[in-house]
Amino acid sequence: MATTVSPRAKQYTDELDRLWTERPGVLGWLTTTDHKRIGIMYFFTTLAFFGAGGVEALLIRSQLIGPNGHVLSPQAYDEVFTMHGITMIFLFVIPMTTGAFGNYLIPLMIGARDMAFPRLNALSFWIFLGSGLFMYAALLQGHAPNAGWFDYVPLASKQFDPGNNIDYYGYGLIFNGISSTIASINFIVTIFKLRAPGMSLNRMPLFCFAFLAVAFALLFALPSLSVAALFLELDRQLGFHFYDAAFGGAPLLWQNLFWIFGHPEVYIIILPAFGIATSIIPAFVHRRMVFFPLVALAEILVAFLGFGVWVHHMFTVGFSTLTTVYFAAASLIIVIPSAIQLFAWIATIVTGTPDFQTPLLFIIGFIVYFIIGGLSGITVAAIPFDQQVHDSYYIIAHFHFVIFGAAVFPILGGMYFWFPKVTGRVYHELTGKVSFWLTFAGTFITFFPMHIVGILGMPRRNYTYPPDMGWTLLNFIESIGSYLLAAGLILIVANLAISYFRGPRTDPPFEGDTLEWATSSPPPPYNFAVIPTVRSPYPMWDKEDRERDNQRLERGEGLLNLEHATPATTVQDAQLDEILSMPSHSPWPPLTALALTGVFAMLVMQHYWIAFGFLVVGGLTLLGWHQNEEQA
């Protein structure tokens, strides 16, 4: 990165600034198509939902701190634990990793100036926001979904849940799924087509491999959820009988459809965390990832194999032994690509010279908790054992170690790691370390005892428990742990927030091996003045190439400054193929999202004709979208 720029280079970069700088102010943000701004909007929105989900968790733990608690009534408890699951999965972790981290970083890492479809990118954000507000409108009304985040029928059918709680769930998931589907398409096309010339597929950062796998997994998993939710709403609203045993339907159809989505979903949750880990580790241990190609392959394999294991969520429903054994085998096979990655990370850390700053600490924490969560996952691939602990707190322990310990820790570490790049300021390192230890301890104290209390027979989703079961002390400890964990998380956010306003403004104190570190901090609106040439998977460690880029800037070569342009390259070898003209500033994405929000709001209120009207409005906004002829 050039900290001193010659007058000639400045002339070129000023021109690029003029082409790419977006409008300031609220209107500028509302109509933005800049992937960095969209990433930032996703970041703050998902952080807010993380807070909401966290409050829900604290309410649950406060209710369960002792037997016969009175913090929440049974009705409120059922809504709170359901919303906790929905919020954390659909409104926090997926949009945070894909929408915030993915959107901000992927174009930068591949040497592009934006995503392949900038307006669709904005649309996916506004739809996500709409779907989140839609779900929370339910909570504010007191009709939040209340049958658990996986919402089994017949409990979730009209007969047993007559209000519109479940309708917020069914419509909300379809609504949210549209955002993720659009985002996946955008990620895949961006990664395939917009990589800088020379960045062939085998020179792409591991972070991008992880996100490519995530995007394909989302694309193929979401339809199953949408069909499940469609059937649910048709049963509930129009009296269809997909799930109704009395009329030839099958309650288990819901479970199958849900988990065909649900299992890939958990790999979708964790793969971006793997990607973040593979970005942070080389930066702090000063060497490249051990066995890079095998790690890339393992990342893809995890996503692919994840589609074949879903019945392991259903080992107790009464399937034949043959069926359960097949899926147990598949579930065990998937351990291998995860183990490959785990030991690649460990080998890289051992053979490097690690500098244990805050981001790396979070990755160490991630590794430790991924091992614990992975091991408990292996134990429940032992069918008879699972048939004892299924639906008990043991399972809650397992998935919180893998989702919180293993998916969220890299997010927290990533927040620290890229904070200097995104903001141009430095956070407070000692506070960062303290925030890590607090969070690490809080996580352990909250979730580890759950293994024990589950083995002692405590079922999950219970709003209270009797005092003489031997569960009281463990629940008390877990609840104290949750307050500690909350303190750690608050400290992280406080550290970053205060540092944003008062941290020293300097170059980042560390640097990764991928191209986002070649830009200024924060990156300019056009990302790269000169489209970088790439000749290895570690572009920042190819100092001659980066120097050559600077020289080309001086000579005015490779600027692509005749318009709002970025290059498109071929899929495998990244040979330059054409120059794309990218859109900027469009009102159509937020307007389309608004129309779609209207559709779902009217559906849940059963005003079907008005819903159709909003659909027509949405069609009109799409016509407006296509008035001009920039790329989508």
Partner: protein, 211 residues
């Protein structure tokens, strides 16, 4: 100022049919818009795979399929109308090929021809469904639920295709076969190939009790 390498086209500037066709020829890889449509269609195909899978899940889980009191589906009507729809595929192929050669009005004519036949197909299907509804309803049995949902989902995609036809034809006729709308025509053709394929799969599924 020169671009990265003087040879690759700045594709947005191809606003006449011949220029757009030249850009299309010069590309080594499929354009982003084509990829976007292809991936969207992967998602839709998976959607239908799930719907069809659900049909057979309910089928294999029940003792009688269709349940007692419902006549198994008739083959001729649906089969013939679907065959006619399949006949629009070569028309779309020719339309896309004409567009890729820069032949704007030729492309429009082929697409219009397909458009007319597709409308006739949808109208026929509506009549067939109304006939079915006299015999059984989606609210009566799970069989009815999945049968009508599968057909309705398919026809919704055909209807969407008709709307896309209209939009693309309008734009190509009014604004010309620019690079953007050439990709649009190719995407539209791709859409129809997959939707027609899905329709055939749906046909075999709903007729399976009678096959």
């Amino acid at each position: 100022m020169t671009d990265a390498a003087g040879q690759v086209p700045r594709s947005a500037h191809a606003e006449r049919s011949r220029a757009a066709a030249a850009v299309d020829r010069s590309r080594a890889a499929q354009p982003s818009g084509w990829w976007g449509m292809a991936l969207f269609l992967c998602s839709e195909a998976t959607l239908f795979g799930t719907l069809i899978g659900s049909y057979f899940y309910l089928n294999f889980g029940s003792h009688r399929w269709p349940p007692a009191g419902i006549t198994p589906p008739e083959i001729p009507g649906p089969a013939i109308s679907t065959a006619v729809l399949v006949g629009t595929v070569p028309l779309m192929v020719l339309g896309a090929a004409a567009a890729r050669r820069g032949r704007r009005w030729s492309a429009v004519r082929w697409i219009v021809a397909a458009f007319v036949i597709q409308i006739a197909y949808l109208a026929t299907q509506v009549l067939l469904i109304r006939h079915d509804l006299l015999d059984f309803t989606p609210q009566g049995t799970a069989y009815g639920s999945i049968y009508f949902t599968l057909l309705f989902a398919d026809h919704a995609h055909v209807l969407l295709g008709l709307l896309l036809n209209g939009a693309v034809l309008y734009k190509v006729a009014r604004h010309g076969l620019t690079n953007y709308w050439l990709i649009g025509v190719r995407g539209l053709a791709l859409y129809w190939y997959v939707v027609v394929g899905i329709t055939v799969a749906v046909l075999f599924t709903v007729l399976s009790p009678s096959l």
